[in-house]
């Protein structure tokens, strides 16, 4: 099915907010959303939450014949599935543009950078090698699938353990996990991609765009780096024109972000290892938060309060300049009507110059600043 189109009001609102360096969820320009990494019961299964974006990666392996031109290297296969579960706009089975883009970007980020030692995956040269398959499924799309997918893929690869094999001449014995402990893959470095969204022809840039921001962006720059400050891949997309300085600045920001994320991944892997050693329960079911209503508690929403005092003062100043009385409208205020209320003013309402009025509502919302010509009252 088709995605609901974005209205012009919403688009203008988002762009205006971005011009004033404000984001919908209160983040700063270079802030990432909260990243949460959890693991499944099997080795190689990893869930990543980037804000509300949720992806799952699973690594599996299989013994196959190697490619003809590379007889002593293992095979890596990457696949990102955009399932309709994640977003109404994704269609099952069809290879949409986004799907091709994400797949190619993940391949370039992980395969071309040679983060995995493929030669260690060789069992019998020319005959049997391990084929490592990374499947990433998108579970919820709230923007920036690329970063979430890259974090999930590399974490799953670090978490994965392949079965141990031994060769006697031409015979290959694959040991099951009960017989011999499975061994981890040899990973050289962890490339992680960082996405930058550009707005207004490259004037404004945001890191980690959410879904709404992605819809209004002009273009995207994805830089994949590892913590050693090596750039593994850069890809610019969308019809934007960049300048060299912008690219350099983005690469510096990416370096900082990548080291933070790498630390987070290592911590998560360490915690998981400890949990498994201690024999604790681990898995997808355990990672879901226990939803028990024990108290009425809501998440705190960050509200911009820095200039509330100035704005309120400004309104009050203007209010004192031209007080007007509308006694005949008192009845509209319902039970709240009382003669001493002379003016009602919304906190974002511009004082009209000509003296016409306008909007009176009898709702009890907190934004209403009620003024008396003599004594300004604080909003409840």
């Amino acid at each position: 099915m088709k995605d609901t189109p974005l209205s012009n009001c919403e688009r203008d609102f988002l762009l205006k907010a971005i011009e004033e360096k404000k984001r919908l969820d209160g983040r700063q320009t270079y802030d990432y959303r909260k990243i949460k990494i959890s693991f499944g019961t099997d080795y190689g299964c990893c869930f990543v939450d980037l804000g509300q974006t949720r992806v799952m990666a699973q690594v599996s392996c299989e013994l196959v014949a190697p490619k003809e031109n590379r007889p002593n290297e293992g095979i890596m296969f990457f696949n990102i599935e955009l399932s309709p579960m994640a977003s109404p706009g994704f269609e099952q089975g069809r290879q949409s543009e986004l799907s091709v883009k994400l797949n190619r970007q993940l391949e370039r980020c992980l395969r071309n950078s040679k983060c995995i030692d493929t030669e260690s995956l060789c069992v019998v040269s020319g005959e049997k090698v391990w084929q490592i398959r990374v499947d990433v499924h998108t579970l919820n799309n709230d923007g920036n699938l690329m970063d979430a997918a890259s974090i999930a893929a590399i974490t799953a690869l670090c978490h994965f353990r392949r079965p141990d094999v031994s060769t006697q001449g031409q015979e290959v014995t694959v040991y099951s996990p009960e017989e011999r402990d499975p061994i981890p893959l040899s990973i050289y470095h962890m490339p992680i991609s960082v996405s930058f969204a550009f707005f207004q022809q490259g004037t404004y840039l945001l890191v980690d765009p959410c879904e709404r921001e992605e819809r209004v962006m002009d273009g995207l720059l994805v830089i994949a780096m590892n913590k050693h400050r090596e750039i593994c891949s850069i890809q610019s997309s969308g019809g934007i024109m960049l300048l060299k300085e912008q690219v350099m600045r983005c690469s510096k920001i990416a370096g900082v972000k990548v080291s933070e994320i790498t630390e987070l991944i290592n911590e998560a892997l360490l915690n998981d290892r400890k949990a498994r050693k201690a024999g604790g329960k681990c898995g997808f079911a355990e990672s879901m938060p226990q939803e028990r209503i024990t108290a009425l508690k809501k998440d705190e929403t960050p509200v911009e309060m820095t200039d509330v005092t100035e704005t309120a003062n400004g309104i009050i100043q203007k209010g004192e300049a031209a007080p007007q009385t509308y006694p005949e409208l008192n009845y509209k205020l319902g039970y709240k009507a009382c003669k001493k209320w002379d003016t009602v003013l919304w906190h974002s309402f511009k004082w009209p110059a000509g003296g016409d009025v306008v909007e009176i509502s009898d709702s009890e919302e907190e934004e209403v600043v009620i003024l008396n010509p003599e004594v300004p009252e604080k909003p409840k």
Partner: protein
């Protein structure tokens, strides 16, 4: 590839070029009569054909019409005989789709699509012989084809692939250099304003070298733009002589 020295001590590459030297660029415009614009471009041993149809009415899905600008539709394909091993799937596989998307993105930035609302411009590029730098050669060929079709553009779009070996940037990579595991950067540039229409890099490169590499790519692209400009002027001269102006 082990054993092949991509940059010798005297500063010569595998094909005898110096580090900043581009391959020989030859091009022809107006090769086909049926198409609105066409061009054939050779850069070293990489040969590409580009054909442009448009601007014309939106074909296919009417729903994709944009009310304020033209839609650019690109298709990239490689001839089955273009590579050393016969290509089994010339188009429709992921790499070709990705290339088509990149070409589309590059030209959306450069072509003045606001002049043709509700229409479509088709750009078809085919690689006849692939010897490295596929994307760059396609972009250069497509630029000439778009100019031949008379579609206004903001500037020439010039592209070049550069690699980084032994702390030196190598301009215009050939296939042997590309597959040697060298970090390669493909850049599409509008030379006059120095604006980057597309930037693509694979393989590991330390952040400190990024600036040098981008600089080298921009210089190489400016070199390409000079050659393309020559070709266009030459073609115009020939055409005006034929029409007797």
């Amino acid at each position: 590839m082990a054993g092949l020295e991509l940059l010798s001590d005297q500063g010569y590459r595998l094909d005898g070029r110096k580090a900043t030297e581009l391959r020989k660029l030859q091009a022809r415009m107006g090769v086909f009569t049926q198409a609105d614009g066409s061009a054939y471009l050779e850069q070293g041993n990489t040969k590409a054909l580009a054909v442009v149809y448009g601007p014309h009415e939106m074909r296919g899905s009417r729903s994709r019409t944009l009310h304020d600008r033209a839609v650019i539709n690109c298709q990239y394909s490689m001839a089955t005989f273009s590579t050393a091993e016969r290509k089994r799937r010339p188009h429709g596989d992921r790499k070709s789709t990705e290339m088509s998307l990149h070409l589309k993105q590059t030209f959306e930035a450069a072509v003045m699509t606001q002049l043709y609302p509700r229409s479509q411009i088709d750009i078809y590029v085919k690689i006849l012989q692939s010897d490295g730098g596929n994307y760059s050669v396609c972009v250069n060929a497509a630029t000439l084809a778009v100019i031949d079709a008379g579609i206004p553009m903001r500037d020439y779009v010039c592209a070049c692939t550069v690699g980084f070996v032994d702390e030196t940037p190598l301009a215009d990579l050939c296939y042997a250099e590309e597959s040697g595991g060298v970090s390669s950067l493909a850049l599409a540039l509008l030379p006059r304003g120095g604006q980057i229409a597309l930037l693509q890099m694979d393989a590991r490169l330390h952040q400190d070298h990024l600036e040098t590499l981008i600089e080298a790519a921009m210089t190489a692209c400016k070199g390409v733009s000079k050659v393309l400009d020559e070709v266009v002027r030459q073609h115009l001269q020939e055409a005006s002589v034929l029409t007797g102006e």
